[in-house]
């Protein structure tokens, strides 16, 4: 009996200190940078395909599509799921380009300190006057899932930005 208790204590000591609520795996997120390439098929019709930006010609002025996929590969549903994506410093967010089914999309013009819907955000111009924010003002995009992400649940959000 004493030996059994000792074994149990050793097992407990050797086990990693896992917070009860922290699950294995969690929500996996991936980012993809792609550009649209227009080609013509055998019938002469224009066909737009997405190709990896890292393998394609990207120049100043080009639009890059950033897609972020997420997958709950944990054991439990995830709640309060939010994806925060700073707009790369060398790029300008393309107005009205953020998409995300089943998400609420908010924006920040102060490097993520505060967020709000695009039509509610105002910025102060150089002349001191306030005006509605434009795409070029956006520094962060945030997608908040409207429902918990069930185990095995996945989704995709995206936005477009132009290389300065």
């Amino acid at each position: 009996m004493k030996k059994g208790i000792l074994v149990m204590m050793m097992v407990l000591l050797m086990a990693p200190a896992v917070t009860p609520a922290q699950q294995k795996g969690g929500v996996e997120v991936k980012s993809f940078a792609e550009v649209e390439v227009v080609q013509k098929d055998e019938k002469g019709m224009k066909v737009v395909t997405l190709v990896d930006a890292a393998k394609n010609n990207v120049q100043p002025g080009d639009t890059v599509i950033f897609s972020i996929t997420y997958l709950n590969n944990g054991d439990e549903p995830a709640t309060d799921v939010a994806i925060k994506n700073p707009v790369p410093q060398q790029m300008l967010y393309l107005d009205r380009s953020a998409l995300g089914e089943g998400t609420r999309i908010d924006f920040s013009v102060d490097n993520g300190k505060s967020y709000g819907p695009m039509d509610k955000i105002r910025v102060r111009s150089a002349d001191g006057k306030e005006r509605p924010a434009r795409g070029a003002d956006i520094t962060f995009v945030r997608w908040t899932l409207e429902k918990p992400l069930r185990k095995g649940g996945a989704g995709k959000v995206s936005f477009r930005a132009v290389v300065k």
Binding site: T19, P20, A21, Q22, Q23, G26, V27, E28, V29, K30, S31, F32, A33, D52, A53, A54, N56, N57, V58, Q59, P60, G61, V64, F66, I68, T69, Y70, G74, E76, P77, A78, T79, D80, V81, A82, I83, K84, N85, P86, P88, Q90, M91, L149, V163, K164
Partner: protein, 418 residues
Amino acid sequence: MKTTKQYLFQTLLILVTVALAAPQWVLAAATPPASNNYTKACTSITNVANIEFSVNGAVQPTGHSGVSSFIVGNKINLVVQSNDAADVTVLPGSTNQPLSFLLSNTGNARQQYMLTYLSQSSGVVSPTSGVADSMDMLNPGVGSINTSTYTTVDVNPDTSITVTINANAPAVPANGAIAVYTLVAETRKAGSGAAESGNNSTGAITDSTGATCSADIVYANTVVSAASIADGLVARDAKASARSAYKTMSAVLSFSKAATTLWDPINGNTSPKAIPGALIRYVVTIANAAGSASATLTTVSDTLGGSMTLDPDLRVAAACGSAPCALTALAAESVVGSGFKASVSGGTRVGTSGGLVNGTPKYFTTASDADGVEFVSPLITLTAATLLPVDAGGGTPYTAGELKAGETLTLTFDVTVN
């Protein structure tokens, strides 16, 4: 016995020493294109998406993120503009005369440019005056004369530099002849000067810090002027060009000397004849044609015929009537002893340094007193630097002795036939 005609002929000898004043360049430095502030070539852009979530009401640690990145390629673009707001005037025989251009790197990487010139053939018009090319300059080159092949220069993005085509002017060109030249800049790889890889290619790129990477290259020069097309350039060829023109400019001086008989001892001033004892008025005129270059006069000399005597008083002709009267009865136009009258017209001289004022005659003694008009028998000498000294003009300053285009200098004096 000499005739009056012979007397007149002898006094027509005029010696004028002229130097052409320096031409005036009308430089209106072209406005550089606005900075694009493009993301520099070879820049790696990374996107990081962070996710936050809770499980069973407990906020999970941060650190779940997705990352993607790519390299910005090379956008090649350039602009060449002329800095010359007007045809660049050059004097005959002048050397190393520049046409000025502004070369701007409007791409996103440091580039080298191969600079060449094209000498246009007749019929191609000057971009500033619209006058057709009619001559060639001598020994043209980019940056300096005789650079017959090409010159190269490295330029950072959003940076402009001034480039010149230099050439010598022919010794005896036609006045107003036009020579049109084109500066062509072709983009090359920075540092090495190797040819670029081609539009929509992949190759080595040097960024503005000198670092290199391999990335895609695009020629973005899409707008090509008609003149550049005529010079063989096309869209997306990584080249740019601009034209400018030389214009030869000489002073076009004309000299005249008019003689008028004012009085003779028989007829007075009624139809006077050039007979011995007659009073003859000479008006020497030096005019610089409108539209020509300024001339810098040094001296004007006139040798009186041996049978003439300079009248010291420059008399008023209409004071005697038809009855024979003594020459001394004719009043002096100014004061006794002022035998010369000089005037300048057609300009803006204001007499800043005591020289002639435009449109206002000035009288001079017939003594040799360094006042600008001297007489040491038989030589009359006009010293331009004294008569036409440095002057503020009406906003356009004069150099000493300068007779601008459209101006006329007149010297008037009387002689009596011995």
